[in-house]
Symmetry: C2
Subunit: 406 residues, 2 copies
């Protein structure tokens, strides 16, 4: 019996979240044996509650489906809507009435921790009421902080962007190499430093920039930082320092909070800004050399210029794998990656229990961070390098990248 | 008679300043009839005063010369050294003694306004003392603010980066399109808004983002800005606003000065930062929607990901043209571009008097800016679009761009 499909995107966008969407939609459209109409939710579960859905099949004829593979951002729109903890809340029967109304049998949600929380709650509620709708999470986050998976689609492209951009910033910073200078690059990552760690891939030799790298996993001490900078300037006149936006004192205070007040987003996450700016002013005042801070900001998650071929391929494959597993009966699972042993990089796609994944955060292992907390070791490079391999040609028109829009 | 060649780079780097260097060096090495040793100055005229020079010929054998065509930053290093106004200063005979010592007959300086000032002073001093060394300026600046030339190498690639990045930021900003938001993008340009204007190339249709664009050429009124934003939010829920770092009140006060203190660089230019941040806080306080500011910072001048094929080709050709003209006897000139009439984009390379160029700034014509000062007209698009055409493949290694280093 054919069952209709619905797919949504949630949380912050990445360069390949639409590649995952492509994987889900392409596979579902090609499984005519099992899948009926393939719907997209506009603005995730929040939009679905307001009946904002679209039929995805026409995208194939219009050529948009091909184009979304290289379009950054969330083609379907996103939301930051958290379902109530109480499965007795009235929103659940309302949602399942809508699923029935649209004949939904397969539900796919592409996102990070918070999105997996949605998959977890919906699958648990389905079990309670004996619904046979299958709920599958497709992983996505530039932060690479999902547990029970080797890595996450979106990280590879963001890491490639960070590494190549830091290499370019180091070139830019070195043009006045007869004068000392410090350039501080602020990289996304509240609690997990994976993306900041990826900046070390920019190095071409031992001791090359970025010389100092600070992750949120290690307590940050501004006085020790100043000592590190002073010492590094003796060896490298144009110093590049990479910091995570979430560097903190190890006791819950973000470094940026030392400078300014912070807001809170709808999930209760502190909204960060300004660690780089704070340290820029600190270096200016205490060391007195020329100093600049660069915040990579949203560019690290929305640039199509540095798509990793590996990342894009895996994003598509994880979406398609989710569809295959759902048809075979899986529910309450997230698609995960298992790295196979051996010299060459290879991964298997597997399913993991979404309840064990949601609301957890995988941080960079302490043993991968150097003892003094200002660098990562070779383990990280070996881990991350395969994920940034391969280039993707983005279609262009009139000198600019051509993207798909709803 | 063969004469030795020296070439230097000065001022801020661009994505194609090394393409111009390639043009000079490649042409000089191939003009064995006229040119002897080809030297590069390390850190411009300042390094040359300390005998910091290198022989460029070995770069050809090592393959570095090919690679510098796609390497951003200043391969030779740069300086911000201003020669004294008084041609009677002792630095002039000192420099010309060094020229004699190295057998220099041809001097090429790749840079913007301040670098042309150096070419102007050296050529005027040469005339005073009857030296036959030929001094030629090769234009370079992302700001596109040199007079007596249709445009400047470096602008096309920076414009392509700005337009494609703003298009990506607009995609990123629109993922929560069920909530209103404002994204402010701050783009380089102290007094000339060419690069900020290039953000309009990101639009795909009339009324698309960036909806509002503010250049330093027009007096900026924060109250009017808030009115513009409020009105635009009625039509476009996720508004993208592009501003030049140099927006000002029309009476000499930069908008960023309303927020914080500013420094001054060695040329007496005010060092700007923070107009975007200032307006972010203003919108947050007065309008209350979600707001973010993104400073493109050095990325717009150092990214190799968005090299314009046209820009790179012209940068190389302008360097080579300078060598050709110097050999034919020209001095005290800058290579300039003249756009030829007709539907297809074509340019001629010509020479202009460097004395008429240095220390001048070409701003965006008032008649190209809309009356209300929040947009540019079709004249700008027609002007800029040919300059961002063509893609350049950057060599890569291990997943990252491969660059040349001294």
């Amino acid at each position: 019996m054919k069952r209709n499909v619905i797919v949504g995107q949630s949380g912050g966008p990445t360069a390949v979240i639409n590649a995952s969407l492509y994987g889900v939609v392409y596979e579902a459209l090609n499984r005519e044996d099992a899948c009926g109409t393939v719907y997209g939710m506009i603005n995730g579960i929040e939009g679905f509650l307001n009946d904002q859905i679209m039929d995805m099949e026409p995208l194939e004829q219009s050529g948009k489906l091909e184009l979304i593979r290289t379009t950054p951002g969330s083609f379907l729109g996103s939301c930051r809507y958290k379902l109530p903890e109480d499965l007795g809340d009235e929103v659940y029967p309302k949602l399942f009435e809508k699923f029935a109304q649209y004949g939904i049998g397969y539900f796919f949600y592409i996102g990070g921790n918070d999105s997996m929380d949605t998959v977890s709650k919906l699958s648990r509620y389905a079990e309670q009421i004996g619904s046979d709708i299958r709920f599958i999470g497709i992983p996505k986050t530039i932060d690479n902080d999902l547990v029970h998976t080797d890595h996450t689609p979106g990280f590879g492209s963001a890491a490639k962007y960070v590494a190549s951009t830091v290499r370019e910033i180091a070139l830019d910073a070195s043009v006045y190499d007869n004068k000392k200078s410090v350039t501080i690059v602020e990289i996304m990552g509240r609690h997990a430093g994976w993306l900041t760690a990826a900046s070390v891939l920019a190095r071409k030799f031992e001791g090359d920039n970025p010389v100092l790298v600070y992750l949120p996993e290690t307590a940050f001490d501004p006085e020790k930082f100043l000592g590190d900078v002073r010492a590094a300037l003796e060896k490298v006149p144009n110093l590049v320092v990479c910091i995570s936006e979430g560097i903190n004192d190890g006791q819950g205070t973000f470094i940026c909070e030392l400078a300014s007040s912070v807001g809170v987003d709808t999930f209760g996450h502190k909204m960060l800004t300004g660690s780089g700016k704070y340290l820029e002013n600190l270096v200016k005042e205490k060391i007195g050399v020329k100093v600049r801070s660069v915040e990579l900001n949203v560019l690290q998650r929305c640039s199509s210029a540095m798509l990793s071929g590996t990342d894009q391929k895996e994003a598509i494959a994880s979406g398609a794998y989710g569809v295959k597993c759902a048809i075979e009966g899986a529910t309450g699972k997230m698609v995960a990656f298992r790295r196979l042993p051996g010299e060459d990089y290879r991964t298997d796609y597997v399913l993991e229990d979404v309840n064990a994944i949601c609301n957890q955060e995988k941080t960079v292992p302490a043993e991968w961070i150097t003892k003094d907390g200002s660098d990562v070791g070779r383990e990280f490079t070996a881990y991350a390098l395969p994920l940034i391999q391969g280039e993707v040609k983005v279609p262009s028109e009139n000198g600019l990248p051509l993207f798909a829009y709803r």
